[in-house]
């Protein structure tokens, strides 16, 4: 068995069904110590794969959610100013000398670790998930480059903090802007697409083992057909799981059994007003009939 099959099996053990390409990319990312960049539409399971990887390796998942305006103070480290100030006041009353105060307030006790610094100072190599990197500014990409290539952080007052262990880095992007070539070059790459019918069925069975085979096949068929409709927001895998769970919770054994219940459970799949209006009872019944 190839090594990447082992990775695929390990992920499957955590209830994550990964395609061959994705498991190969993950395996290489671990084996070569390179960050992995995952791109794909929202809801195809990019974030989830990092969680599954962390669980499979029994290590911590450290997550950095990117947003516009994210800067080094929130991503890497920051001095705990308030605590430093208090400490100086206390020291002044105790008559402590300046030099020893200084040594104390610029120690790691006063350093607030943000995700990136936390990721390189763990005893056991964690999985570092840098989520939606395309939302962060380009300046932030530049910070990342240093950390992703050298795995070290420079704090002027303390010196360079080397990585204790090298984290497994997973970056995700929804492609709202083009990432810089420099960042792409440092990463391995995998494009994650919506799963095909067989894969999605396997995901459903892994996540909701209680689902009946007949209902499961109908749910997957229905969602796959729905994705081909003209929708503003295409339902992802997580939505499909919610949908199946909702149907199971309502005790439905067959998708075509009760049009009203089906229409009501569509709230788990359709997330905008236009989409709700577009998928009328007739459309839903047609799709359900095809899936059955």
């Amino acid at each position: 068995m190839s090594d990447f099959r082992l990775m695929q099996a390990a992920l499957a053990g955590q209830g994550y069904v990964a395609s061959d390409d994705l498991s190969m990319a993950l395996h290489l990312s671990v084996a070569l110590g390179r960050p992995l960049l995952l791109e794909g539409a929202a809801g195809v399971g990019k974030t989830e794969v990092a969680r599954a990887l962390a669980a499979a390796r029994e290590t911590r998942l450290i997550r950095l959610q990117c947003y516009e305006g994210l800067d080094a103070a929130q991503a890497i480290y920051e001095w705990n100013y308030q605590r430093q100030l208090l400490s100086i006041r206390a020291a002044a009353e105790d008559g402590e000398t300046g030099r020893s105060v200084e040594a104390r307030i610029f120690s790691r006790d006063f350093l607030l670790e943000r995700p990136l610094l936390a990721a390189i100072s763990q005893e056991v190599a964690p999985v570092l998930l840098i989520d939606e990197i395309d939302r962060a500014d380009e300046e932030f990409e530049a910070y990342l480059l240093e950390i992703l290539s050298d795995y070290q952080v420079t704090v002027p007052e303390l010196g360079t903090l080397e990585a204790v262990t090298r984290p497994i880095v997973v970056l995700t992007s929804n492609g709202t802007r083009d990432l810089s070539d420099a960042l792409r070059r440092r990463c391995l790459y995998s494009f994650v697409d919506y799963p095909d019918r067989a894969t999605e069925l396997a995901i459903l069975q892994a996540r909701l083992p209680g689902v009946e085979a007949r209902l499961g096949a109908q749910v997957v068929g229905f969602v796959q057909a729905l994705r081909r409709e003209e929708l503003e927001k295409v339902p992802g895998v997580a939505e499909m799981l919610d949908f199946a769970a909702a149907l199971m919770g309502l005790g439905l054994a067959d998708l075509t059994q009760d049009p009203e219940v089906l229409q009501a459970t569509l709230v788990t799949l359709l997330k905008t007003q236009e989409d709700r209006a577009r998928v009328t009872t007739e459309v839903a019944q047609r799709l359900a009939g095809k899936a059955a």
Binding site: S2, M24, A31, L37, Y81, L85, Y189, F191
Partner: protein, 392 residues
């Protein structure tokens, strides 16, 4: 494309073949450096890749960097490794030849060359080897459809001029609405954290006041250019403008449409200007035909716009508004686009004419949804738009 890349049977070993493969990818526009060759070999070793499919997966993860490249990779991979007919079956009296055959079938000896191989490009300057066969490679295929070569239309000089115009327009489209503040030398608010931090060095007295301000954020320009038959007179200007825009603004995004919609952003980012335009002309299949503005815009709104257009975008439509599809479709597509919060600017070369009134069905339907409807037929016209764009 000038050079045909494929591997020759006499390559000394896997390392040289890998270098050849990387050169092949580079010629087809993938952005790869020298270090990737070593990384590819390491990857094959680490993957324990014993089947062609596993090799494909491993190399794909290393060599590709975006969706466009990932989609093209399979063809490029097949073109290089799988097309056995093009391999020069030349038996050389060298022991390595048998070893290198393993590239096809198995990789069990993957460790043999990791990192030690020299990066020799195969067949450089070897007239004999370079003479055989033409590659069946995706990007080099010259299809014999009646298609205008955009390279004849766009001159490098135009692009330099267009770049200047594009830079000015980009500057005119600055947006001052960012909510978050960043540290700045001169700002409208105090930066408390930083001021307190700095005051530590002066015994708690805030001697130096640090400020923050709202940064100016560039708007993303998304340009959609009509290349249908009726626009062919103006194509030269608009294509040069697009090329200039893409070279000055890393955020900008460009599309061509006639009866279909094609994204040309990736192609225009190519470092080689003329090759970029060559790639664009390959993509603009059907250039000079009819136009279906409504359906193309509709496709744009439903696909790319979801990811790429937001409240900070300006959508530039360069078209004369002659649409062969019903005008309602265009109006509906524009209304949906407008809902994403963007500004829509329609530049119509005909508007500059005397007595022109937007009576063409499509144009009339579009008018209510536009933020700016202006004339543009030459680069000068585009440059003159600067003032109007500032006010948007």
């Amino acid at each position: 494309m000038s050079r045909v890349t494929r591997f020759a049977g006499r390559d000394p070993g896997p390392a040289a073949r890998m270098a050849g493969f990387l050169a092949h990818l580079r010629e087809n526009g993938l952005r790869l450096g020298v270090a990737e060759t070593g990384l590819c070999l390491e990857a094959l070793e680490a993957a324990g890749a014993v089947t062609p499919e596993a090799c494909r997966g491993a190399l794909k993860a290393v060599c590709t960097g975006c969706k466009d490249e990932a989609e093209r990779f399979d063809d490029l991979f097949d073109g290089f490794w799988m097309d056995a007919g093009r391999v020069r079956q030349k038996v050389l009296p060298k022991a390595q030849v048998t070893g290198s055959d393993a590239v096809h079938s198995s990789r069990e000896g993957g460790g043999e060359a990791a990192g030690t191989g020299t990066m020799t490009a195969p067949d450089e300057g070897e007239g004999e080897a370079a003479g055989d066969g033409t590659g069946k490679l995706m990007a080099t295929q010259q299809r014999t459809l009646s298609r205008k070569d955009l390279r004849e239309l766009v001159q490098p000089g135009d692009i330099a001029e267009a770049e200047a115009v594009a830079r000015r327009l980009g500057a005119a489209l600055r947006d001052r609405r960012s909510r978050r503040r960043i540290a700045a030398r001169r700002g409208d608010r105090l930066d408390f954290r930083k001021t307190i931090r700095r005051s530590l060095s002066s015994g708690g007295e805030p001697v130096v006041l640090l400020k923050r301000r709202r940064p100016e954020r560039a708007r993303r320009i998304v340009a959609l250019c009509d290349v249908s038959g009726s626009m062919s007179v103006y194509s030269r200007v608009f294509l040069a403008f697009l090329a200039g825009l893409m070279r000055t603004d890393a955020e900008a995004d460009a599309y061509l449409f006639h009866t279909r919609l094609v994204r040309i952003t990736e192609a225009l980012r190519d470092t080689d200007t003329m090759r970029a335009i060559g790639r664009m002309s390959l993509m603009a299949d059907g250039f000079g035909g009819g136009s279906r503005i409504g359906p193309c815009l509709d496709l744009f709104v439903r696909s790319y716009a979801k990811r790429l257009v937001d409240g900070r975008s300006v959508v530039l439509i360069l078209s004369d508004g002659y649409d062969s599809a019903p005008p309602e479709e265009l109006a509906e597509a524009l209304a949906r686009l407008k809902k994403r919060g963007c500004r829509i600017v329609w530049l119509n070369p005909l508007k500059g004419w005397r007595d022109y009134a937007p009576v063409a069905g499509g144009m009339a339907a579009a008018l209510p949804h536009l933020d700016l409807f202006a004339a543009a037929g030459t680069l000068g016209d585009l440059a003159a738009l600067e003032g109007e764009l500032v006010g948007l």
